[in-house]
Symmetry: C2
């Protein structure tokens, strides 16, 4: 049997330690091709580049692995991978990450890592976003490694619902304190923001986004609860934003 083809991307950029670890794990399970941003793209959400051309350059970053860096967003990377780099091939799995920092709860909509995974899912490619709850450049990905391998193996073997992706978040814990996997829903948390105001060297004002994640959802079936209790959270996610529950009460709008 041919080796499965695994596309690897991220939003922290092609030289981040997190993607290096993901490439290492993926290359044990299949043929790996990397298409990742040439610079950090955190918080780019599902942004795409429409008004400018994109650059795509073959690079030697990972020993023995085909790798391309792209000037665009994480979603651009997936589009270029699908339509240019791997044009005539079938991608069996797309993995994005390992993100330096959690993408649990509402972070899925801001995250370039998860948006890349979402874009692959829209192309009917099985897709997983991995994130470690540690923003540090020197984050220790070792405790998470066997779990990431198992989840990728599962994804390669089992059928996925079309358009589905997995949002996997890993707590920052030593290996012997990681309790296992929990399938859960996205917690209803949000960011409470402040802007740091200042003056640039020319005396002009600027505003710099800062903020704190606040979880107001304390139910036990959420990703935040899983992480808090030492579990790796897995949220099956998709692209339909329709609020079906709200449709009934809005029917009155049709009569105005």
């Amino acid at each position: 049997m041919n080796k499965p083809l695994i596309l690897v991307t991220n939003d922290d950029g092609i030289i981040a330690p997190g993607i290096r670890k993901l490439v290492e794990i993926a290359s044990e399970l299949g043929e790996v091709v990397v298409v990742a941003p040439d610079s950090p793209q955190s918080g780019k959400g599902h942004g795409i580049t429409i008004h400018d051309p994109l650059r795509l350059k073959k690079v030697k970053v990972f020993e023995g692995i085909e790798a391309w860096e792209c000037s665009g967003t994480p979603v651009d990377c997936v589009k270029l991978a699908k339509h240019v780099v791997l044009k005539n091939r079938t991608i069996d799995l797309c993995v994005s990450g390992i993100n330096h920092g959690s993408n649990a709860s509402i972070n899925i909509i801001y995250s370039g890592t998860l948006s890349a995974a979402m874009e692959a899912a829209l192309e009917n490619i099985k897709s997983i976003g991995f994130s470690l709850d540690d923003f540090s450049f020197d984050a220790d990905f070792a405790p998470a490694t066997p779990w990431i391998r198992k989840i990728m193996q599962y994804a390669l073997e089992k059928p996925f619902e079309s358009g589905n992706l997995l949002n996997v978040n890993i707590p920052k814990l030593p290996a012997d304190q990681l309790k296992g996997l929990r399938v859960c829903r996205q917690a209803d948390g949000r960011w409470v923001e402040t802007f740091v105001e200042g003056r640039d060297p020319s005396g002009h004002p600027y505003y710099w986004l800062s903020g704190q994640f606040v979880n107001q959802d304390h139910a036990e079936d959420t990703d935040i609860d899983a992480l808090k209790n030492g579990y790796i959270s897995i949220v099956p996610s998709m692209h339909d934003l329709t609020n079906y529950k709200a449709m009934g009460s809005l029917k009155a709008l049709e009569q105005i």
Copy 2:
């Protein structure tokens, strides 16, 4: 009673004709404050600016209306409006648009217009994204005007479910052919992409995103179907991307 406070934003930029029309309608219904991007931000999705400072400048663009242009994304605009420009005030409604081009179906996740509305909804502000199915700069917003006014009036008067927003799309039709409003779900369509490949003046290759929207979802309860039949589509939308239907079949993952 005090006039309601209405925040107006968009993704086509503060000088686009679409936002001018929206400001005109909103100012008949309340006190309007505009915070909008200083340049076109189409396709920016839910992108935010983390690694750079933002600029915010008071401008005279609309006669008698407080207006600010911002160097960031549409979501940045809403965050700045909430936390800086209107810091100590209650925003009664946020309207985003009128977008030059449809944001029906999957376009909601790429659209800066809708992401701005989504961000307001996350802040528990009633929120509506308006889009006209006409990309032209000279698009005729007149036929849509009475409908937009009615929907805004409805939103100001009725309670909204927390975190909910309305994705309103208007077909490009003369007034006498607009049949009314239809509450519907997001059609399961997607973009089929190609990249235009070329060489820049220095001889280096570039890739420019191009593509075509394809709807594979031909049910009658979708926004695409409503638009096709001459109706204005209204999709109640929200931020929970959890695929609840997929949770059961994934439970096996907890045992690996």
